[in-house]
Subunit: 152 residues, 2 copies
């Protein structure tokens, strides 16, 4: 699968999360263009503060591969990862992160922090930003606008 196809899979996960009442963020993990794991945000459904799409996708990929080291893996996320998720990318030794929309309020892959590119940490990864970013941002802004509408 191409990067664009993999990001489309992440967008589908984001849309499904939004339909379930979760903030619509999705992520997939791929190795050599092969999709290994996918997840949407599940924080509300599971009451788990760490159940961001990126964390779930990384955990599922590690379970599928039987290793916490995700060497050669790329994580595709619809939204710029937060500090927790960017830190998890480093902890999992992910090779590359590709994200859609920037998150100026919490982004840790360029906006507020750049945790994935810090030579003091024991791993660094390539960061690609803005792939299908407009679609990812649109999903989020539509979801938040609906949430603010008064109930009928």
């Amino acid at each position: 699968m191409t990067d664009e196809e993999l990001m489309r899979a992440a967008l589908a996960e984001a849309a499904a999360a939004g339909a379930r009442g979760e903030v619509p963020v999705g992520a997939v993990v791929a190795i050599g263009g092969q999709l290994v794991a996918a997840a949407g945000n599940e924080r509300e459904a599971t009451s788990d503060p760490t159940a961001h799409a990126e964390i779930l996708a990384l955990r599922r990929a590690a379970a599928a591969l039987g290793s916490w080291r995700l060497a050669g893996a790329t994580l595709f996320a619809t939204l710029e990862p937060c500090p927790m998720c960017a830190g998890a990318l480093v902890a999992a030794r992910v090779e590359r992160v590709v994200f859609g929309a920037f998150d100026p309020k919490a982004g840790a892959c360029g906006s507020l922090y750049n945790l994935c590119v810090d030579p003091r940490l024991n791993h660094e990864l390539t960061v690609v930003s803005g792939l299908a970013g407009a679609e990812a941002a649109e999903l989020l802004s539509t979801w938040f606008a609906r949430r603010r509408e008064p109930s009928p």
Copy 2:
């Protein structure tokens, strides 16, 4: 339980993790001095890159409370949390983190980053450092020294 007793529980989790072949780090979550959840590092046993003691303790506390918002909670960790774990403390709206040893190579609560005290993020928490730090550091240095010994 006092802060010292709760840190002692975290140290016991760290020692148990070390005995299982994991890097010896432990964490507990308490609310109002009551222990809610405890965990040691399980990264090797579970092949989960996110299975640091702090993440597991936060997830178990949220499961016990039925909420991802850990309002009023304190996390006690034997080692300064890394970026992933510090970000999780923010994501879980933890009120206070108390840690033992500083981690100059990956610490994100004062050493390399100070993710818990950043007014740009949507939550800030109190950071207390150095409680039983010598014991926590000793557990780690002994464990790594044993690991470097040649096999018989």
